[in-house]
């Protein structure tokens, strides 16, 4: 049997965090009373006309520039026509054959396009069925109707569920740091669909794909893709064809359920939206969008790895939490040592504001000079995170300074050896691990002021092992 390779592309809808809706002046909101954020335009009242939200275009440009896309000199909106009660006008205004952004790349995945469109209203179905079919009644909340959306479509460059999940996490973090969306999958401000097919390894032709919807967490995305890849592989191995269809992920069973084909059989009759003029970004608009770009996670990871020699995990940690990344860069000292101590501080403090970069640098210096042991430096860090102050003073005040070469430590080691003859016997018998049973009491005795390496050296010296 030939080995099969999954081929996966993602389609991601992002609700843009603009002040107002895509085509009208209604403010966006979440959790308001139903139908309080509406006007003639987003209600689709007769005679109303859409006007493109300039901030949404700016966000689209920022996304396009951040993801290395080509910006269209003139992109246009189309009408996507279909009837549904959550669609006030009977059509969705969306970009079709000339999107705002084309091409692009994030990490190891190429982008196909990014386009702007409007979200539909929210339907609530009353009664047992939970769907419009068989419900007692359906009610519409138009607050969400007209929310700006960006749709990001990747090329089919993804080859495993894990890669899809990891890439989506990177995309989400990138969009979050761009400030264009609050990218919350559970609340639906980031929604990912997956196009999945399989093919024999080594071939380039794409197999028949299915579209997976309703995976509203990273875990569900990976689960859904995993299940679908298995299903398609089983079909092919048993000689049956994969049918092109849309599948709904069921988070309860972890399985996939086909949508009724009737709901799918749409001819959207796309045509250019005559109520809008083309979006033609001026060089000034593009430059303004470029100027608004922060350093993005992928670039930061690469820089931390190459410039500072950080591990991939640590680089990613700081890149995904750029406030701490910026803080890390402000602390002077050996980057990898500093990175460890920033990570320690991050576990203790809500924000980098808790400790001045200079104070942390000083503490790192004390450790490197062996003025304080690593263990006691963590105690100092507790104090710093909680109440601030000067690391040297804390060491002084709390008597946390490392024991010097005064012979004091050698005396303590000798005493502990004397108090534990049975352990000594085990060590002499060849059990090196038993040495730990001596280190503990020595550390207690010295209140953590002893250097671990020095303690080990003294034990060996005094026992002659």
């Amino acid at each position: 049997m030939t080995e099969l390779e999954p081929v996966i592309g993602l389609e991601i809808h992002v609700q843009l965090d603009t002040r107002t809706k895509m085509f009208c002046a209604c403010e966006l909101g979440f959790g308001e009373e139903p139908n309080t954020r509406t006007c003639p335009v987003c209600l689709g009242l007769p005679g109303s006309l859409p006007v493109v939200n300039a901030q949404a275009v700016q966000y689209g440009l920022m996304m396009g520039l951040a993801l290395e896309c080509e910006i269209a000199p003139r992109s246009i909106f189309h009408r996507k026509n279909y009837f549904y009660p959550d669609l006030a006008k009977g059509y969705q205004i969306s970009q079709y054959d000339i999107p705002l952004c084309s091409g692009g790349r994030l990490g190891d995945v190429r982008l196909h396009r990014i386009h702007l469109e409007e979200d539909a209203a929210k339907l609530v179905h009353l009664g047992q069925s939970g769907r419009i079919h068989g419900s007692d009644a359906s009610i519409v909340d138009y607050n969400r109707g007209g929310t700006p959306l960006a749709e990001i479509v990747t090329e089919p460059d993804i080859h495993s569920a894990e890669q899809a999940r990891d890439w989506l996490i990177l995309l989400r973090e990138t969009l979050r740091q761009l400030g264009v969306s609050d990218v919350n999958m559970e609340e639906g401000s980031l929604r990912a669909d997956a196009n999945v097919s399989v093919r024999p390894v080594g071939t380039t032709e794409l197999g028949t794909k299915t579209e997976l919807k309703n995976m509203n967490s990273f875990r569900f995305l990976a689960q859904g893709i995993e299940a679908e890849v298995k299903r398609q592989a089983a079909l092919i191995e048993s000689g049956q064809p994969v049918v092109q269809e849309t599948l709904h992920f069921d988070p309860v069973t972890g399985g996939l359920r086909p949508l009724r084909s009737k709901e799918e059989a749409h001819d959207y009759r796309y045509f250019p939206e005559p109520d809008l003029v083309p979006v033609a970004p001026t060089p000034e608009m593009v430059e303004a969008a470029r100027a608004a770009l922060p350093e993005l996670p992928a670039a930061r990871i690469a820089r931390y790895e190459s410039d500072f020699g950080l591990s991939a995990d640590t680089a990613r940690l700081f890149a995904f939490d750029p406030g701490w990344g910026d803080y890390f860069e402000q602390v002077e000292g050996d980057p990898r040592t500093v990175a460890n101590w920033v990570t320690e501080l991050r576990a203790r403090a809500d924000s980098p504001d808790a400790v001045e970069p200079a104070a942390l640098a000083k503490l790192v210096g004390l450790v490197e000079a062996r003025t304080v042991t690593s263990g006691n430096a963590r105690v100092v860090l507790d104090r710093l995170a909680a109440e601030g102050g000067d690391p040297a003073e804390i060491v002084e005040r709390e008597d946390l300074g490392a024991l010097g070469d005064s012979g004091e430590l050698a005396g303590i080691v000798a005493k502990v050896i004397e108090d534990n003859p049975d352990v000594v016997e085990r060590i002499r018998g060849g059990n090196a691990k038993a040495m730990g049973a001596l280190v503990g009491p020595i550390m207690r005795e010295t209140k953590g002021k002893a250097d671990g390496g020095e303690v080990n050296r003294l034990i060996r010296e005094q026992l002659g092992v």
């Binding site: 003639p40 005679g47 026509n81 009837f83 009977g90 519409v140 001819d267 009759r269 109520d275 809008l276």
Partner: protein
């Protein structure tokens, strides 16, 4: 005829501003006539006193106005001639109407129209046909037939309508008054219940070109609520020209030959003679793609309408006829709410946009549209204006063409090319044929409204047509 009725709107407004005429008296004179209307020109008439919020000091001088039904007017029925919007009162007012009110024109009435502006006779109104005041057995034209008939009958001093393929110019011609379709984008479409978005344009009906210019000046202007609005590059002036010296008129052979009634052609020739006497040169020319105008128009307009009318689905406003499920609610609502002509165009438009047919129909029609626009662009190298009869015939009898959609569509043959090109055109009355009014159309380049109005004014003075002849 009372003295007030004799006055043009400009004259009446001047007297109100100077204190020689009480705006309440003016309002009541027209209100009482509008309430007594027996042409079915109105779908709503304000029964009360004149609205106090209107400042008669504005350029429109407190002179009341009739508004085509499809303009949304806050709290007032705005039904676009359709049963599907029966009783619908919008929560906002169209920009064009806001501007007219701000300029000092109180809204006296909403006027009857073909359903969603689809028609050339006003017989497609769900609220019954409007009659032509010149002959009550005949139609006033359409789709803005109520607005035209009311001005011709003297039940409003002036009015506004919309023109998609001729819906201002053709009824103006059939009712013996002035009607102007501005450049696409001159007047905001915000609040105009849409028929075909890329063609719809609001404009004035008036007894003469001076009144039309006043209304246009008040209506036109860019609107942040309409991305396709531009306004006009210069203020609209009151037309003053009395001659046509140096003006080059082009007479397109394609729009002045076959299919035009002899009486209409005779009046057209007389007006061309007058134009020459006023100093114009008149030359036959060609708009080679204009014969395809109707075919392109009857794909583009239905395609856009099939989408624009999708919102009438019974979910949120207007008529709802319940069904056993969602689909049957949709189909029953639209089956009962729309009239035959609207259904015909929604079907044509849906077909034209369908996957597999788009390129052959909608795509091809857009290419023809581009070619028609280019014909005009080339014409402006040699001519100041293109002139034609406005409509191929005079007002026809009620019911004469309702069973023959193609015969009805041919009414727009001379007006559709300008709509497709987005250029301005005026219709002025230029005489009678068989005792019924005939219209003369002057079309010019985009944003040439002032020059068109001047030329129309010069001809109007020379023709001497009395637009008050049909007053009851």
């Amino acid at each position: 005829m009372s003295e007030i009725l004799e006055l043009t709107a400009a004259q009446a407004g001047e007297r109100v501003r100077s204190g020689d005429l009480d705006k309440g008296e003016l309002w009541r004179a027209y209100r009482d006539r509008a309430l007594a209307d027996d042409l079915n020109a109105f779908t709503w008439v304000c029964e009360g006193d004149e609205p106090e919020a209107i400042d008669e000091g504005g350029p429109l001088g407190g002179v009341p106005i009739g508004i085509k039904d499809l303009f949304c007017t806050n709290g007032v029925p705005s039904q676009a001639g359709s049963k599907i919007l029966e009783g619908y009162r919008p929560p906002y007012t169209a920009t064009a109407v806001e501007r007219l009110m701000a300029a000092g024109a109180p809204v006296l009435a909403k006027t009857n129209q073909d359903e969603f502006a689809m028609g050339s006779s006003t017989e497609n109104s769900a609220y019954g046909p409007t009659l032509n005041p010149w002959d009550r057995t005949r139609v006033p034209g359409g789709s803005s037939g109520g607005s035209a008939a009311a001005v011709a009958a003297g039940t409003v001093p002036w009015s506004i309508g919309t023109d998609t393929g001729g819906s201002i110019r053709q009824p103006a011609a059939l009712c013996g008054i002035v009607g102007l379709k501005p450049t696409y984008g001159a007047v905001s479409r915000y609040g105009m219940i849409a028929f075909a978005s890329s063609l719809d344009q609001a404009g004035p009906f008036a007894r003469d070109t001076t009144d039309a210019a006043l209304l246009l000046g008040a209506m036109a202007g860019p609107d942040p609520c309409d991305s396709t609005s531009l306004g006009l590059p210069e203020p609209v002036r009151a037309p003053t020209a009395t001659d046509l010296k140096g003006i080059r008129l082009g007479v397109p052979e394609e729009l002045t030959g076959e299919g035009i009634e002899p009486g209409v052609l005779a009046a057209f020739s007389e007006t061309l003679d007058l134009a020459r006497q006023l100093g114009a040169t008149v030359e036959t020319m060609h708009l080679p793609h204009s014969p395809h105008g109707l075919a392109a128009y009857y794909l583009i307009a239905p395609a856009e309408c099939s989408s624009n009318l999708a919102r009438y689905d019974g979910v949120r406003y207007g008529l709802r006829t319940d069904g056993s499920d969602l689909l049957s609610m949709y189909t029953r609502t639209r089956e009962q709410g729309f009239g035959a002509e609207v259904k015909r165009r929604v079907l044509i438009g849906t077909y034209a946009l369908s996957s597999g047919y788009y390129d052959a129909y909608y795509g091809r029609a857009q290419k023809v549209r581009t070619l028609i626009a280019r014909d005009f662009t080339q014409a402006w190298e040699r001519f100041d204006f293109v002139v034609t009869p406005t409509a191929p015939g005079v007002a026809f009898e009620l019911g004469a063409k309702t069973q023959d959609p193609l015969a009805m569509y041919l009414n727009d043959a001379c007006t559709v090319p300008m709509s497709l090109a987005g250029i301005p055109a005026i219709s002025i009355p230029n005489g009678l044929a068989d005792g019924l009014p005939v219209g003369f159309q002057i079309a010019g380049p985009a944003f040439s409204e002032n020059r068109i109005l001047d030329a129309a004014h010069a001809l109007e003075q020379a023709i001497g047509f009395d637009s008050r002849r049909a007053f009851a």
